[in-house]
């Protein structure tokens, strides 16, 4: 093994997993080659309209990532490329790559689109799922990265019109494919997936124009799609009155060799139905399903809202076929819950197609020397979901197992941690520092404001008269330039804005578009790259706060948009440049919690080269893992536990502190100070980042006579008893009840792990005691992903599954010495009485009792259920809004061991984007105290939720409040509270706010 590890990583696949992975690596000091076979990055997520459960617009939340990747100095994009060969060894690989030519010189192409408009040849538009045509020279979607045209040779007429109109002379039909070889230390695989082809199930009549695949329907919903975001019945072009979704098309199907569950279809169908109803309010939406698998964080509540608020109809029956009437209309025949055969007509039928492994999976496996599982996905271990079995090659996302976006993003980060651990000694050796041009001094200049009003496709433009707003903006004081943009956030538009800044010598920039929460950093960066201080930028939200909420009142919405722009201009006239300062930081990490999440995070962190303090409040490490004795795959959880404990206790870079509690935490990213107690002894520790891995607990049920009989136990208790040989179940009857304490009024969420646990334990019972009778009483079986196979195994072993309803729960009674369980089988509508010798309750996973205290100490928000609330449900699952603090494991939400390991690795990767920096930059938008006016009253000290202001005696001997620039979050509470008006909020100064209010009042 060569000593010199190469500080670069090849990421294969540029969907959300690949992009997340690439960004983490690039932000942690590694050079990244991001390779995709497609002409643009973005993957499937770029095709989605909205994402569940927040109904965020997919393109909106992904476009900042697209632009980040595009502009990152440490990421080299290899689009339209194929991996041909990988040779070498871990730490020092060579990758041979074919660059397929676009027949367009990427240096010269500006993505202007002139060539596209003159091309006479139409081809099927793959990005739009072949629902419409595109030109033979094309850009896949408006926010594509890189924004370069690509020409398809096979179908080109050779007319050359594109060359004629190209002003940059970028098009050259004589360009050829080329090959390059790159040197890298490790590889991250993120090739994603493709969807099931319904041609394999002709009974669903995909040949009919009104039968669509879900991904096609998604394109209909999307504003950049073939119908401009209008929901239509394809055969007539008119709005449909009724739509049916058919679940499990190509999933959970042993007959078609696809006996796994694609995990996301239940929730995505609900999303499509909800969004469709928003487009067409009196639309009737029906979802035909077998089990409703809304197991993710926030998904069960999403399901409930769909039923209660949106009136989506759910019918529990798998659809056997789609039928066509003689007049061409569609109908579905099904057995309803009462057992009657019903027929319903629908205008449109959407097939919820499952996930398949991506094209080229076998070739990729061959090139990389890795194994695929029997379905063609990457073979990984139950506890090692990011490892391919070959050192140096790591994997993430849907290629491991079908999964949703938050899981994918976490795995993308997790794979980065794995990939960079191997080469951590070569951090910073292959990177380029981001260099900004010198900042122009605008002091003394009169404001020269540029206003960019965005269409956001049709999101804004379909309601607000954008051109009218532009014209209006030109009349406002200080405005010297105004224009409209189709997508202000696209990569090419950033360049355009920078050109306009230079050409018109702007010193203030306003973008009237969407939410600053997602896009302010992007535009501030654009200004900075043009030599403008980033705080000379202001946003007017004319989408979320205007076009989206006033969808049916376009005139008033346009007036409001003008008001918002006028207010933004008023403030912009008053904006000042703000400085940030570098702050020294501590490069150590503290992990709170010594379960599998905490131990994994600690171990992985040391492999990155950083020291770790691992704090555990109990006397033993291990957390909930101590109770898990069995696994579905047969791997030994206790062996994992022993190995991890040994690893952290013998690792010289980890200081393990058991029986230790936290008294207080102060500080900020890069400089946290934690006060700990152990057995009365106090200690203070400093660290740069904190990872919260405080776990969760098993609910101790109040229902089903738990606690009143030793034959009634929880799943954890069962595993312990079984493993310790305390149960003889030969010839006995075991009943398991699912959803105990979950999916209820008081606790609406799904605890996610219980179905897999019950199935696992039922298999353990049957394998040891084949003559035992095992009954599992359930509401929905949520054996998602490859766990579906174990559901089948349990059935084959004779485990009986009985479905009950939420409002007709099983009854547990004692009749003398007999335990009796009464349950109404919802299929047969008959009541069964079972006399169990053992009753196992699948109790909910509830937040750790400690969470409120930790939340208080660290100022971290909790969800309504008491788990920790991450920064963004989809794209920042392991980050907190508070910088420098990260989250993983059960503290986030209930999950299985493999999922916990992925998140722990993800938290490490995210933390390394901080620790790898030499110093921290403070925020510009903070509070400033004018010490001349401050009376030292202390109101700000009391008011600040982050405990930032301190009362000190200054050089003049006055008692004044002092605000640490590095700690201040800029929330504004002190500024509002100060009775002397001694505190100014940078970027939200009184005169700026007053100017906005006055502008609002003006006509």
């Amino acid at each position: 093994m060569s000593e010199d590890k190469i500080g670069a990583v090849l990421v294969v696949g540029a969907g959300i997993a690949g992009m997340q992975s690439a960004l983490d690596l690039a932000d942690s000091g590694f050079k990244v080659y991001l390779l995709t076979e497609y002409p643009s990055i973005g993957g499937y997520m770029a095709k989605l309209d909205k994402t569940f459960p927040t109904n965020d617009c997919a393109m909106c939340i992904i476009s900042p990532k697209l632009v980040d990747v595009a502009g990152h100095p440490n990421i080299e994009l290899l689009t339209n490329c194929d991996l041909l060969e990988l040779s070498g060894e871990p730490g020092s690989f060579k990758a041979r790559i074919r660059k397929r030519t676009r027949y367009v010189d990427e240096e010269k192409c500006t993505g202007c689109g002139s060539c596209i408009s003159v091309c006479p040849v139409e081809i099927l538009d793959g990005f739009n799922e072949n629902l419409r045509g595109t030109k033979n020279i094309f850009i896949p979607f408006p926010q594509a990265v890189p924004l370069k045209a690509t020409r398809r040779k096979e179908t080109c007429m050779g007319c050359g019109l594109c060359k004629v109109v190209c002003e940059s002379g970028a098009i050259d039909f004589n360009l050829t494919d080329s090959e390059i070889t790159i040197d890298i230390g490790s590889v991250v695989l993120a090739p994603g997936y493709k969807t099931f082809d319904p041609e394999l199930m002709k009974e669903y009549r995909y040949d009919h124009p009104d039968v669509l695949r879900s991904i096609e329907f998604e394109r209909f919903l999307a504003p950049t799609g073939p119908t401009g975001g209008h929901v239509i019945k394809p055969s007539t072009g008119e709005e449909p009155k009724s739509i049916a979704w058919i679940q499990c098309v190509g999933s959970r199907n042993e007959r078609l060799d696809r006996g796994y569950c694609s995990s996301v279809c239940c929730t995505y169908a609900i999303k499509e139905a909800v969004i469709a109803k928003e487009h067409v309010p009196d639309l009737s939406c029906t979802i035909f399903y077998m089990d409703m698998r809304t197991f993710g964080k926030g998904f069960e509540e999403y399901y409930n809202r769909a039923k209660d608020e949106y009136g989506i109809e759910f019918i529990r029956c798998r659809v056997p076929s789609v039928k066509v009437r003689t007049d061409g209309g569609l109908f579905i025949r099904y057995e309803n819950e009462e057992g009657e055969i019903e027929e319903r007509e629908f205008d449109v039928v959407v097939l919820s197609v499952g996930f398949q492994p991506p094209d080229g999976n076998r070739e990729l496996a061959r090139i990389l020397g890795i194994d695929l599982n029997k379905f063609g996905f990457c073979e990984t271990g139950e506890f090692t979901p990011l490892e391919t079995g070959r050192e140096g090659i790591y994997v993430c996302g849907a290629f491991v197992e079908p999964k949703d976006i938050p899981e994918t993003v976490a795995q993308g980060s997790g794979a980065s941690a794995k990939a960079s651990a191997l080469i951590s000694t070569s951090r910073h050796t292959q990177v380029t520092e981001r260099e900004f041009p010198p900042e122009r001094d605008v002091s003394g200049e009169l404001p020269r404001i540029g206003v960019f009003v965005c269409h956001c496709g049709i999101n804004i433009a379909s309601v607000v008269d954008v051109l009218a707003v532009v014209e209006y903006a030109k009349t406002l004081p200080g405005v010297v330039y105004a224009e409209n943009d189709l997508y202000a956030c696209s990569q090419d538009n950033q360049k355009h804005i920078q050109e306009v800044i230079k050409e018109y010598n702007l010193n203030r920039v306003i973008v009237a578009s969407c939410s600053p929460r997602t896009h302010e950093p992007l535009f501030r960066n654009t200004c900075r790259e043009a030599g403008l201080n980033p705080y000379l930028f202001e946003m007017a939200n004319i989408r979320d706060q205007c076009s989206w909420v006033h969808m049916h009142e376009p005139e008033k919405a346009t007036e409001k948009a003008k008001d918002l722009v006028r207010m933004a201009v008023a403030k912009a006239n008053m904006l000042q440049p703000l400085k940030t300062i570098p702050i020294e930081m501590n490069h150590e990490c503290m992990v709170i919690g010594g379960g599998i999440a905490g131990m994994t995070a600690a171990s992985e962190m040391t492999r990155q080269g950083y020291r770790v303090y691992l704090i555990e409040k109990e006397a033993e490490l291990g957390g909930n893992l101590r109770s898990i004795r069995y696994s579905l795959s047969g791997e030994d959880p206790q062996e994992l536990l022993r190995r991890m404990i040994e690893e952290v206790e013998t690792n010289p870079m980890i200081e393990v502190m058991k029986s230790t509690t936290i008294d207080s935490i102060e500080g900020y990213i890069g400089n946290f100070k934690v006060n700990l107690s152990r057995n009365g002894e106090k200690r203070e520790i400093g660290c740069g980042v904190i990872i919260v891995a405080t776990g969760a607990e098993e609910y101790k049920p109040k229902e089903y006579l738990y606690g009143e009989d030793e034959r009634i136990v929880t799943q954890h208790e069962f595993e312990e008893l079984m493993d310790e040989g305390k149960l003889d179940l030969s010839g006995k009857t075991v009943v398991m009840i699912q959803c105990v304490g979950s999916r209820e009024e008081e606790r609406t969420y799904c605890s996610r792990v219980c179905c897999a646990t019950a199935i696992k334990n039922s298999i353990v019972i049957k394998e040891n005691y084949p003559d035992a009778d095992v009954y599992i009483l359930y509401r929905d079986i949520r054996a998602y992903g490859f766990k579906e196979e174990y559901y089948r195994r349990a059935r084959d072993l004779g485990v009986i599954f009985i479905r009950y309803e939420k409002d007709e729960k099983p009854e547990v009674t004692k009749d003398g010495d007999l335990l009796k369980v009464g349950v109404v089988d919802q299929l047969l509508k008959e009541k069964f009485i079972i006399e169990p010798d053992l009753l196992v309750l699948s109790a909910a996973t509830i937040p750790a009792a400690d969470n409120p205290r930790i939340s208080e100490l660290l100022k971290l928000p909790l969800t309504e259920h008491g788990f920790f609330l991450e920064a963004h449900a989809k794209l920042r699952p392991v980050d907190f809004a508070t910088d420098g603090v990260f989250l993983c494991g059960l503290a986030h939400s209930p999950k299985l061991i493999g999922e916990t390991v992925s998140q722990a690795c993800a938290a490490v990767s995210r933390a390394c984007t901080v620790l790898s920096r030499p110093f921290i930059e403070s925020e510009g938008t903070i509070a400033k105290v004018n010490e001349l006016i401050c009376s030292g009253c202390g109101v700000c000290v009391a008011a600040c939720p982050y405990e930032v202001p301190e009362l000190v005696v200054n050089e003049r001997g006055a008692l004044v409040a002092r605000i640490n620039e590095a700690k201040c979050k800029g929330c504004g509470v002190c500024g509002c509270g100060c009775p002397s008006s001694a505190i100014t909020m940078n970027h939200f100064m009184d005169m700026q706010i007053m100017a906005q209010i006055d502008a609002f009042g003006a006509t």
């Binding site: 009954y775 089948r792 109404v824 299929l827």
Partner: protein, 179 residues
């Protein structure tokens, strides 16, 4: 609503169904595909999904004496569509075999098997048809068991070897069904 003590359920039923050909009975996860497109289902409350369920639960008294399992036309639509490949048609046939051995067989099925035992054919040859055959220039009887009595004897050998006569209660002396 019926209340059933599962401890009284017939544990042997799923095993017997498997032995008699319904090998994948337990694969069923009650999705409803089979019941929904069954040609019989729209005309009569014949629901394969429920029959699979009851068989797996061992509810013999509900399944074996009922006419339901004899209503299946063996069209194999459910068989081809079942996502878990539970082979429902095979389960129905297996249940018929179990039910028959407990004395539950509809008259018509017994008749057909009796005919095959007597004539080598599911239906006997009729004089009026024999005349029509001759009118077309065909032999009055086809060159099958209708013409070759040895063929009938060979069928009867198979019947004897497999105990069919006992199951359908066929009397060898009278060469007729008992009742």
């Amino acid at each position: 609503m019926e209340v059933i003590e599962l401890k009284n359920a017939d544990r042997t039923l799923p095993q017997r169904v498997k032995e008699f050909g319904g090998i994948d009975l337990l694969a069923c996860y009650q999705c409803g595909t089979c019941s929904s497109d069954c040609p019989v289902g729209t005309e009569f409350f014949f629901r394969i999904r429920r029959i699979m369920r009851k068989a797996a639960l061992g509810l013999s008294e509900q399944v074996l004496p009922a006419k339901d399992i004899w209503c299946c036309t063996t069209c194999f639509t459910c068989f081809d569509r079942c996502p878990q490949d539970a082979k429902p048609t095979d389960v129905i046939l297996a249940l018929r075999r179990v039910a028959a051995r407990e004395g539950y067989t509809p008259q018509a099925s017994r008749n057909t098997s009796a005919n095959i035992t007597k004539f080598g054919h599911a239906v006997p040859s009729l004089e009026e048809i024999e005349k029509k055959r001759e009118a077309m220039g065909l032999p009055a009887r086809p060159p099958t068991a209708a013409t070759y009595p040895e063929a009938i004897r060979e069928i009867q050998l198979i019947v004897k070897k497999r105990g069919i006569a006992e199951i359908i209660r066929f009397n060898w002396e009278k060469m007729e069904l008992e009742g």
